[in-house]
């Protein structure tokens, strides 16, 4: 039936192979820095040992992110090329390594050894600084998300900020400075036009993006990403994408029904006392679904992805703001673009898709059933208790996060394969005339509807 089973199988194997390598490596490195060294130094009664331990614990999230970003970007480039090949009925890179497994590694090596050119007439200092400014926010922006997606694991508690999502948004608005700087310093008209386009676009689409996130924060009542992710626990009905927790009463009701409680109906009427609350629930669901759309659109524009990749439109501007870049500087630009895509997907996962939550509610989920978890826990007790290699409370959420995030990335690739590029005036008109009013209306609606129904009961 599926005529392309072989290619799809290859793609799946490639993806899971890379993902295993990436997250195995990140897991190993953060375990080494955050657990193994402190365990080794646990018996040393000296001040320096304690100091080293604490420094290690502070540095763990940073090291994890630093290891994660380049490998992940390599995988995402490869996955994007292979997936686009699938959508356009091609084969994609299949030469280096088995089925092109190491293609991006070869590309990265090539870029590293390429000559690093600074064009004549360019502002050399800013030309060098621009990729760094473009790239650095993606490292810092990823840090609070790390605490959210690992369920506030001990290793990553350091980066759990009270202003979590605000921090991420603020930091992720910085790269546009890097783009403008690079575009101006290149001494090239195409770069300059690309940079100006990027500035206009980023400023315009930042408003609906932030408004959609703020609406979610309004519903959750906090800016802390870990808290927002924790609130959505307990299955699909609790996720922010479905009413921002307005359906959690229904979830409780189903649970009570399954448990055979007699007062289930009474419970339901307690959560939804009148028609107003039901209407508010429906309004909230519609609003949040639209919010996800707004967020994804704004994020697409913010990270300059197709269909909003006007800053680097090949057909008009040669390659936009990175026309003059080569070698490692170009590699950094490239790296940051894909990392930004990943971060944006992670934000969407944490804010809307429940973070590391299984779509099944707990009472249906076999993985949280003690009959399953206890034997598994005993089996892994050496790894969990003695050397803290595996934390079962983090393991399954991490897998759910990975699945959700890469599903969003895959969706972005599908969008890239489908939609044509906007024109600049269409882009601006769409941003200012459609998205901003829509997100403002949703904000107001949510403000009113929130009062009529209990969220996250």
């Amino acid at each position: 039936m599926i005529a392309n089973a072989a290619e799809i199988r290859k793609f799946t194997i490639l993806s899971w192979g890379w993902l295993t390598i990436i997250f195995g490596l990140v897991w190993a490195v953060s375990w080494l820095v955050g657990v193994a060294i402190p365990l080794l130094l646990a018996n040393v009664q000296a001040d320096w040992a304690r100091l080293v331990t604490e420094i290690c614990q502070v540095l763990t999230p940073l090291v994890a992110v630093m290891v994660f970003i380049p490998i992940n970007a390599m995988f995402m480039v490869l996955a994007e090329r292979r997936a686009l090949a699938l959508f356009t009925v091609r084969k994609g890179p299949n030469r280096v390594g088995p089925d092109g497994f190491l293609q991006t590694l070869a590309d990265a090596l090539k870029l590293l050894f390429k000559e690093d050119i600074t064009p004549r007439g360019a502002d050399a200092f800013m030309f060098t600084l621009a990729p760094i400014i473009f790239f650095a926010p993606s490292i810092f922006g990823a840090l609070p998300l790390l605490a959210a997606v690992t369920n506030n694991h001990n290793l990553f508690q350091v980066v759990n900020l009270p202003t979590g999502i605000f921090y991420v948004l603020a930091v992720s608005s910085v790269p546009v400075v890097g783009i403008v700087m690079g575009g101006w310093a290149s001494n090239n008209k195409y770069s300059l036009v690309g940079a100006l386009r990027s500035a206009a676009q980023a400023i315009s689409y930042e408003i609906p993006l932030v408004l959609s996130i703020i609406t979610v924060c309004l519903m959750a009542g906090t800016l802390d990403v870990v808290k927002i992710a924790e609130m959505q626990k307990g299955g699909l009905l609790n996720w922010n994408i479905l009413g921002g927790g307005a359906l959690s009463g229904l979830n409780k009701y189903f649970q009570a029904l399954a448990a055979g409680q007699a007062d289930a109906h009474q419970m339901l009427s307690q959560y939804y006392p009148d028609w107003g609350s039901v209407i508010a629930t429906v309004v909230l669901i519609a609003c949040t679904v639209l919010l996800v759309g707004i967020y994804l659109t704004g994020a697409c524009a913010e990270i300059n992805r197709i269909p909003f990749d006007l800053p680097e439109a090949e057909s008009e501007l040669v390659s936009g703001y990175n026309t003059e870049y080569s070698g490692i500087k170009f590699a950094i630009f490239f790296l940051a673009e894909f990392t930004n895509l990943f971060i944006v997907s992670t934000i969407a996962t944490v804010m809307f898709l429940g973070g590391g939550d299984c779509p099944l509610p707990d009472w249906l989920n076999p993985l949280t059933n003690p009959a399953v978890t206890q034997p598994v826990g005993k089996f892994f007790s050496f790894f969990t208790d003695r050397i803290h290699l595996i934390d079962p409370s983090t393991f399954f959420p991490a897998i759910w996060v990975i699945i959700k995030v890469y599903a969003l990335v895959f969706f972005a690739i599908l969008v890239r394969g489908t939609l044509p590029r906007f024109r600049i005036d269409q882009l601006m008109a769409f941003g200012w005339k459609r998205l901003v009013p829509l997100s403002l209306i949703i904000f107001v609606l949510v403000t009113f509807a929130k009062g009529a129904v209990r969220l996250h009961v």
Binding site: R50, L51, T53, E54, I55, Q57, V58, G121, D123, M126, Q157, V158, L161, P162, T163, F166, Y167, L169, A170, V171, S173, V174, V176, V177, V180, M181, W184, N187, K189, L192, V193, L196, R197, A199, A200, A202, I203, E206, L223, I424, D425, M428, A429
Partner: protein, 209 residues
């Protein structure tokens, strides 16, 4: 966060001192560069640097929310400034855009120095009622203050912002209508703000070199 106690104990004030001086030594030359760099665009980027280091100082002062707001507003806002500076840049102007005459320079320098001297004398001779309480890292304090005690100023600020927004659009758009009247054949149809920006930009960047 408990396991950071030792680090905190080991670097009681040193980290703050070090960060303060680092950021101050970054901020001051960049602020001077904003004034004296001949390329207006570069001074715009330097201004972003100044704001970045002030944002860092806010973080040292444990004003997380403000630091992030500063970053968010200024990173975007000053980029706008830079972009507009780009569009207005004119090589001829670049050369004559030196600081004013020597009289002005000397006078302003003395005035600025005297101002600084006055402020410094004032703040040194004052005995500050320092408080030893810890700053609450939560955003809720500011939020509560803004929505209860300072609700009226907050509303005024929002009205001001709205007025500024409308005024800025009107100011930028008025010229547009006139030029439409003057040369209606040039750009018929609904070209909006960015189209003008880019039209400007191409002319400017062609004369830039």
């Amino acid at each position: 966060m408990e396991h950071l106690d030792l680090l905190r104990a080991w670097i009681p004030g040193r980290l703050d001192d070090f960060l303060f001086y680092l950021l101050a030594v970054m901020a001051i030359p960049m602020a001077l560069g904003v004034l004296f760099d001949r390329t207006i665009i570069r001074s715009g980027f330097l201004l972003i640097g100044v704001f970045g280091s002030i944002c860092g100082l806010f973080l040292v002062l444990q004003a997380q929310f403000l630091a992030l707001a500063q970053l968010m507003i200024y990173a975007v806002g000053i980029t706008l400034v830079v972009v507009i500076a780009l569009m207005l840049t004119n090589p001829k102007l670049e050369k004559e855009a030196q600081p004013g005459t020597a009289h002005q320079q000397l006078g302003s320098f003395l005035v600025a120095g005297a101002l600084f001297f006055t402020i410094y004398c004032a703040l040194r001779s004052e005995s500050w009622p320092l408080s030893s309480e810890a700053v609450s890292p939560d955003v809720q304090t500011i939020g509560m203050a803004l929505t209860t005690t300072y609700a009226l100023p907050f509303e005024f600020a929002s009205v001001l912002l709205l007025a500024a927004l409308v005024g800025a659009i009107m100011l930028a758009k008025a010229e547009r209508a006139i030029s439409d009247k003057e040369e209606p054949s040039k750009e018929a149809g609904e070209q909006n703000q960015p189209a003008t920006l880019f039209e400007r930009d191409t002319t400017v960047s062609s004369t830039r070199r």
